[in-house]
């Protein structure tokens, strides 16, 4: 690990100023991913800006009936929060399916959204990786890629986004609140992330010096049914082979609203717009679910060793949709 300077600002504007002044700086929140990457030599910041003293660790109701989650709310606290459990069970389930109890007690909401891929080549500085060193190549494409992307990948990068929380937030249409040198702004979570194309090193649309300060959830209507489910070989402490998040509203026997997202399949949480369009107005029946999900996954481009992700994601999504409509309640 390279040595670094370490600062602990107490107000967000101060943190933003530090970050804006030092392109080599990194934000430290829970440290559950960044510190690992520093040990591996993947990240070598000159300055660590520890955000731990910023007052961003509250979960509070919004005037419109939604919920604002501070950037520094710990994953463990988020999953246990009564308002989250009551109105956004998919969020609680997503968070609880991630990492281990120890990690969840450290990891934060914004840190979770900005964690880096666990692609084995990205993590190994003795090997090329376009995300780490643009232009150096992507050995994963021919190499070990059974956990890597089948959707949204490019010739330059097939990494997957590792977050569970981001997938649930994507299906909830969450908004990410930012603070930068030019003041606050907000982005839809689906606009937060970029696809790799020919610049896999650029993963999100944060501007230099910008911080995530909070995540805002829209009101959870009483008819919305939501759930999150994750498939993995190990029963705990494993990234998703595939995961699904669903927010579904059925009104008068027809699907009035459907928001679907996949995790573990793509370089970002994958919002399944094609499937959603097909489901709008449809009868909530297994055949319709299957056809819609199949249409979405027609875009999948699996590689030699990750083709299993396509049927896996398909089955998971259809199963969650069937269960949500059959039992008629939240996850």
């Amino acid at each position: 690990m390279r040595e670094f300077a370490y600062l602990r600002p107490t107000v967000a504007e101060e943190a933003v100023a530090l970050l804006a002044a030092s392109p080599d700086a990194r934000c430290l929140a829970g440290g559950t991913n960044l510190v690992d990457l520093m040990k591996l030599g993947v990240e070598q910041p000159r300055l660590l800006v520890d955000l731990g003293r910023l007052p961003l660790d509250r979960v509070a109701p919004l005037p419109d009936g939604g919920l604002r989650i501070g950037a520094l709310v710990r994953n463990g606290d988020l999953a246990a929060h009564p308002a989250v459990r009551a109105a956004y069970p998919a969020v609680a389930r997503a968070v609880l399916s991630g990492a281990s109890g120890q990690l969840r007690n450290r990891a934060t909401t914004a840190g979770n959204l900005l964690q880096r891929t666990r692609c084995l080549y990205f993590q190994d500085v003795t090997k090329p990786c376009n995300k780490r060193e643009p232009g150096s190549g992507c050995p994963a494409r021919e190499g070990v890629h059974r956990d890597l992307a089948v959707l949204g990948a490019s010739d330059h990068c097939i990494a997957t986004h590792p977050s569970d929380l981001a997938v649930a937030l994507t299906a909830l249409d969450a908004t990410v609140e930012l603070l930068g040198p030019d003041g606050p702004r907000s982005l839809s979570i689906t606009d937060l992330y970029r696809l790799p194309e020919d610049r896999p090193d650029l993963e999100n649309r944060l501007l230099p010096g910008e911080l995530i300060t909070a995540v805002a959830l829209p009101p959870a209507g009483p008819e919305v049914r939501s759930d999150y489910r994750k498939a993995r070989d190990r029963a705990s402490f494993a990234f998703a082979l595939a995961s699904v998040a669903v927010c579904l509203t059925v009104r008068e026997g027809r699907i009035a609203d459907a928001k679907l997202a996949f995790g573990g399949l793509a370089p970002k949480p994958w919002r399944a717009r094609a499937a959603e369009d097909l489901l709008l107005g449809a009868l909530p029946e297994e055949a319709n679910f299957a056809a819609a999900v199949e249409a979405e996954l027609a875009a999948a481009r699996p590689l030699r060793d990750n083709g299993h992700k396509v049927p896996l994601a398909h089955n998971l999504m259809v199963r969650v949709l069937v269960e949500l409509t059959e039992r008629g309640g939240h996850g």
């Binding site: 070990v144 082979l241 049927p311």
Partner: protein, 690 residues
């Protein structure tokens, strides 16, 4: 003797126990090794200027600058002696610095030039350089045959011909390999995370050309080893070299990401099993042919076909090992080398045979119980496999089992049960030990045994207390130092038998003549005099219940039950922990552990515990271990067979057999991952068999 709780338990849970990297002598500095980034070639230059520019960096050792070592049996220990790179990850330089961070940073700044050569790392079944070695690990003949297998097989009514595959597996002890070393007045002191300080002492003395008594090795607490710490590894040699170079104590703790390349691993294997039987399930012929992989540094051939020489009566049998030497990290011992991977194949095949014959798999095994060791015709000193199978079946509720595969559904889950047998040889090695009567009425046991988490200390206290006829709380056990009476390493599941024998002898001697105050005993003559006409093995039966999600292919273990016959169980609490631990590791191997040889780079791609999945608590909901009281007079005075490795053997097959019972799908490859199961379920579904 009452059950004795782990003697060092309090030290461990309070953090008082000192492991190799917890030792910080004054002026201690830190070493960080630099691994090769090519799979085969020659180092042509090591650029050290950038690293040495940091004033905190004390030295950079390379093959040019490192002191010459004397050759020893394991060429992997000839660190920094040659510019040749035999595999990716082999060490090509070593940085020593005042702080760990400075050493890490400097190591990252070292650039190495190579003349790279094409490498060959993938084990293929028709590899042109595959050969039959002279012998496999443990001195077992590579090849054995009796009867005319080919003729018997050709004529048999029931035949099975199946190939089973296991990828590379890694030991990954919780405590990584680490050493702290210093020199003083021509003497070398090393705290090493090792399974045997005596062997480390002898090896370091040989490498550095020292009298043995000028080397002290301490391995007081060791956080697991599973075989990877059985022999000295490169880190301890590097620490000693570095300490000599800088004239200060040096600490070296290997990052987990480097372990797969330098500490040994279980080599991948391709195992073809052919069984010939009559319709009633009586075995007529058994062939177990194994292909595995070794490095160009050292030949290590796991004795994978050896358990097939022990298990079942068969008039004709053929057991063969073949190996190919490639540009890979050198494989080594991993918990139950041979028995563990071999029994996955053999016990899966027996399950397949049971199905072909329409027999219950427990019954099939009982029908093929031999009255003598099949390969040698020797009598068994004791063999209670049949009792283990029956007792296990009773405890597990096996009689209620519907044998049909793929028919038990609970919602979206398929549920099944499976059985497999386990075996491990009852080995013993000569040992010395000393027992002293102290003036306060307590006793001290002195022996260079090692407790790698097995409960060895505690078991030895029980053995000594029994022989002395005193309560165990009056016995203190000193182990884990090479200046204690010499003892074999903690390997081969023979610790309690070997060390316990010497402790028993010394303690018995002291009780007979208390006036001596101190008795030192050696079992060399007794071990040499052991009656070789007996075959000595422990046995067991493992039962597993699993569920398989039809939508995702996720396999989850529901319960695991083992019943073992392993001589006298010296101390039940620590023994149960050993057996349960072995079973958990076997379940982990069955369902989770997956290591991939990257063909382009020539290394194992999964380099941490987030990528190389070992079982966590949530994966092992219920694991029970029981044993049969076995009184075997042909072993040793404690009457013990080993249990450190027995628990892992057979577990993977029991789980795989349960997966077959649940799904109707036979997977002959580990791990039984979602990927493999889902593909098989989908294809079965398409064929309308589900």
């Amino acid at each position: 003797m009452a059950d004795l709780r782990r003697l060092e338990g309090r030290e461990k849970v309070t953090g008082a126990a000192r492991y190799a990297a917890d030792v910080h002598p004054p002026d201690c500095v830190f070493a960080v090794p630099v691994p090769a980034t090519v799979a085969r070639g020659t180092v042509t230059a090591v650029h050290t200027a950038a690293a040495l520019a940091d004033p905190r960096v004390l030295a950079v050792l390379t093959h040019r600058t490192a002191r010459r070592l004397h050759p020893v049996d394991d060429p992997a220990l000839a660190v920094l002696q040659s510019p040749k790179v035999a595999h990716r990850g082999q060490y090509v330089a070593l940085v020593v610095a005042e702080t760990l961070r400075a050493a890490e940073q400097a190591a990252a700044e070292i650039r190495v030039d190579y003349r790279q050569e094409p490498h060959d790392v993938l084990l293929t079944e028709d590899h042109p350089r595959a050969y039959t070695p002279e012998e496999a690990n443990g001195g077992h003949p590579a090849q054995r045959a009796h009867g005319d297998f080919a003729a018997v097989y050709a004529a048999a009514e029931v035949r099975l011909d199946a190939v089973y595959r296991i990828g590379p597996l890694h030991n990954h002890a919780l405590e990584p390999h680490a050493a702290t070393a210093w020199w003083q007045d021509g003497r070398l002191t090393v705290h090493d995370s090792s399974q045997g300080a005596t062997l480390v002492q002898e090896t370091l003395a040989a490498l550095f050309g020292l009298e043995r008594d000028r080397v002290l090795v301490v391995s007081e607490h060791v956080g697991g080893g599973f075989g990877a710490k059985g022999t000295p590894r490169p880190h301890v040699v590097l620490a000693a070299l570095a300490a000599q170079e800088v004239g200060r104590p040096v600490q070296l703790s290997l990052p987990r990401a480097q372990l797969a390349a330098v500490v040994g691993h279980r080599a991948p294997s391709v195992q073809r099993v052919r069984l010939a039987a009559d319709r009633a399930g009586g075995l007529l012929g058994l062939a177990h042919e194994v292909l595995s992989q070794t490095s160009t540094v050292r030949e290590f051939v796991e004795q994978t076909a050896v358990p097939a020489r022990v298990m079942y009566r068969s008039p004709a049998a053929l057991t063969v090992h073949r190996v190919v030497a490639q540009d890979i990290p050198t494989p080594s011992w991993m918990r139950a080398p041979g028995e563990c991977p071999g029994m996955f194949a053999l016990e899966s095949a027996m399950d397949e045979l049971a199905q072909l014959c329409g027999l219950d798999p427990v019954e099939l095994r009982l029908r093929n119980e031999p009255d003598r060791e099949p390969d040698t015709e020797r009598r068994f000193s004791s063999r209670h496999l049949a009792e283990c199978l029956r007792e296990g079946a009773r405890r597990f509720g096996w009689a209620d089992r519907d044998p049909s595969p793929g028919v038990r559904r609970e919602g979206r889950l398929l549920v099944g049960t499976g059985v497999a047998a386990s075996t491990y040889p009852a080995l013993v090695a000569p040992s010395t030990a000393e027992v002293r009567a102290e003036s306060d009425g307590t006793y001290r046991v002195l022996i260079n045994a090692t407790d790698i988490g097995t409960g060895a200390r505690t078991a030895l206290a029980v053995v000594a207390a029994e022989a002395l006829e005193v309560p165990a709380d009056r016995v203190r056990v000193d182990i884990g130092r090479s200046d204690l009476p010499r003892a074999p390493l903690a390997g081969g599941s023979c610790g309690t038998a070997s060390w316990g024998w010497a402790v028993h002898k010394a303690a018995t001697g002291l009780r007979a003549e208390p006036g001596l105050g101190t008795v030192r005993a050696s079992t060399r003559e007794e071990v040499k005099a052991l009656d070789q006409s007996y075959a000595r093995h422990a046995f067991g039966a493992q039962f597993a219940e699993v569920q398989v999600d039809v939508d995702t292919g996720e396999v989850r273990l529901r319960r695991l039950l083992g019943v073992f016959a392993a001589g006298r169980i010296v101390n039940p609490p620590t023994a149960r922990s050993q057996l349960v631990g072995g079973m958990v590791m076997g379940a982990s191997m069955a369902l989770l552990e997956e290591s991939t040889m990257d063909p382009a780079f020539g290394d194992h791609a999964e380099r941490d515990l987030a990528a190389y999945h070992v079982a966590v608590n949530a994966d092992v909901p219920r694991v029970d271990a029981y044993w049969i009281d076995e009184d075997d007079p042909h072993l040793n005075p404690p009457g013990a067979k080993g249990i450190g490795e027995l628990g892992i053997v057979g577990t993977a097959a029991a789980v795989a057999n349960a997966v077959h019972h649940a799904t109707g799908i036979r997977v002959r490859r580990l791990p039984l991952s979602s990927r493999v199961l889902l593909q098989a379920l989908e294809s079965a579904h398409r064929q309308g068999r589900r």
